[in-house]
């Protein structure tokens, strides 16, 4: 396979801004990026990343079960210690039957998932049938591999339902691609794994699975400072994905651990009865 090295070229992008013809051409090939003219590329990227401080810290998870794929994520974005947003969409709708999760750099994930959606649509138009989850994840993994070492930060899961049934792949910025049944990605993933692994059964109903997913995200947000906001849960079935729930984790806490009614009065009453 010829490696995609167009990202390293410093020539003006052929698509350019304002070029009217063949706008789509720019997306079927790799877009070429402006690169800084410096001798110390890595050092520069390190500083640029520091300056940009992309949103890291998150909890996302996905698992395959009898009824399809369950995908869940929190919604907090942090820049260093500052919470830049509590309402980030970390579950990205690539097309009506495929979802991607976002962990790592927010802009990197948003851009490459949008790019993947375009490629999937082009595949559909060119081949007159939907792309498989395996194919879509491979497109993304190969793209990320060609930018390996350049400082992209992407830890994503591609979940979908194709002709072979439910599919789940983990793809990261190193170009790694893993097929699996259960994944959790992000700073809160150890906590999510704890709850998810102990409660997982292949034979679960959609309700049980969505509750497990929601609880896993909740526990991760409880213990991980970089995760929080709203826990969203999606289900991918044979007819595509549906959003099952979106709950504020602050309120979810009192749902799982309701505050008992004031004990003080009870104690006083008992003393008086004696």
């Amino acid at each position: 396979m010829k490696l995609d090295t167009s990202g390293f070229e410093t020539s003006m992008p052929t698509i350019g801004f304002g070029s009217s013809n063949d706008m789509l051409d720019g997306f079927s090939t790799v877009p070429s990026f402006d690169l800084p003219r410096t001798t110390d590329f890595d050092g520069f990227q390190k500083e640029a990343v520091q300056m940009v401080k992309p949103a890291k810290g998150t909890t996302t998870l996905a698992f395959i079960f009898k009824e399809g794929v369950m995908v869940a994520a929190d919604s907090r974005a942090s820049m260093g210690g500052y919470i830049s947003s509590q309402s980030v969409k970390k579950i990205i709708e690539i097309n009506p039957y495929m979802l991607g999760t976002m962990a790592g750099g927010a802009a990197d994930c948003q851009f490459w998932h949008r790019n993947l959606g375009i490629k999937c649509r082009l595949h559909e138009l060119a081949n007159k049938r939907r792309i498989s989850v395996s194919g879509a994840s491979k497109l993304l993994a190969n793209m990320l591999y060609s930018y390996r070492g350049m400082g992209l930060s992407v830890g994503t899961m591609i979940a979908g339902w194709d002709e072979t049934g439910p599919g789940l792949y983990y793809v990261d910025n190193e170009g790694g691609r893993l097929k699996g049944d259960r994944f959790s990605v992000g700073s809160g993933s150890p906590y999510a794994y704890g709850v998810l692994d102990s409660g997982y059964k292949f034979d679960m109903s959609v309700e049980e699975a969505s509750e497990l997913a929601r609880r896993s995200i909740y526990h991760a947000t409880f213990r991980d400072g970089a995760s929080g906001g709203v826990a969203s849960v999606y289900h991918v079935g044979p007819n595509g994905w549906t959003k099952l729930s979106g709950d504020d984790v602050g309120e979810l806490h009192y749902h799982y651990y309701p505050v008992p009614p004031a004990i003080a009065e009870q104690v006083m009453e008992e003393a008086a009865a004696e």
Binding site: Q45, A55, F111
Partner: protein
């Protein structure tokens, strides 16, 4: 032997703060007019707000040279769009264009922290907030720049709306009226000016409504 490091950086931070608030039929975009470098003030009268389309106004803080270049790129792309489609770009369309423009310089970023405000296709106010490399989100209100950490918590307190991620989906638009929102913006900048050295001098407010754009200027502390 220690590694030689560059003595020159292509970036500088000119400071300043930008705020935008979306309402049911209006959008308020505001920014201070101070441009600084280090501890010096370069000018007290620099506008950080730039009209891209009838229904889309961009306000950016950060490195103003990059901001100017970014504004030029977007304006020229908008002109091409107008020639090709015989109409102005809508605010959501401009929002995605800005995101892509920022990401295309992913490896040599525009040091610009942007807030895009405007009216969507239905005439409702919309605000989009960005990071330096193009990740964006539609929100009900946002603050970016040196005073953002002072302003955002206060706006959260006054305007906090239910998250768009909750099910059932709820609107992020504030129920405040336009004069109330303008008043809130003035209050917020006056407070930020007290505690942020890079914010002050004058406040420029642009109010976007279906019938046009109104601009207001208010004095802020000059120290």
């Amino acid at each position: 032997m220690t590694k030689q490091h560059a003595n020159w950086s292509p970036y500088d931070n000119n400071g300043g703060t930008c705020v935008a608030i979306a309402g049911s039929d209006y959008c308020v975009i505001a920014a201070d007019t101070r441009m600084s470098t280090g501890y010096s003030i370069l000018t007290r009268d620099y506008s950080k707000i730039h009209k891209l389309a009838d229904k889309a106004v961009l306000s950016s803080s950060g490195f103003q040279a990059d901001v100017k270049a970014l504004q030029k790129v977007l304006t020229s792309r908008h002109l091409v769009y107008q020639h090709q489609h015989n109409k102005q770009m809508s605010c959501p369309a401009m929002a995605q264009l800005l995101s892509n423009t920022l990401y295309f310089k992913r490896f040599f970023p525009y040091y610009a922290f942007n807030v895009l405000g405007g009216l969507d296709e239905n005439g409702k106010g919309c605000v989009f907030t960005y990071d330096a490399v193009g990740s964006y989100e539609k929100v009900g209100y946002s603050a970016q720049g040196s005073g953002s950490t002072l302003i955002m918590p206060f706006l959260d307190n006054q305007l906090k709306s239910p998250s768009p991620l909750l099910l059932p989906a709820q609107d992020a638009i504030t129920p405040l009226s336009e004069p109330e929102a303008v008043d809130l913006v003035k209050t917020v900048f006056a407070s930020a000016t007290e505690r942020d050295i890079y914010t002050g001098d004058k406040l420029e407010i642009m109010i976007l409504k279906a019938d046009g754009i109104k601009t207001e200027v208010m004095d802020l502390r000059k120290d």
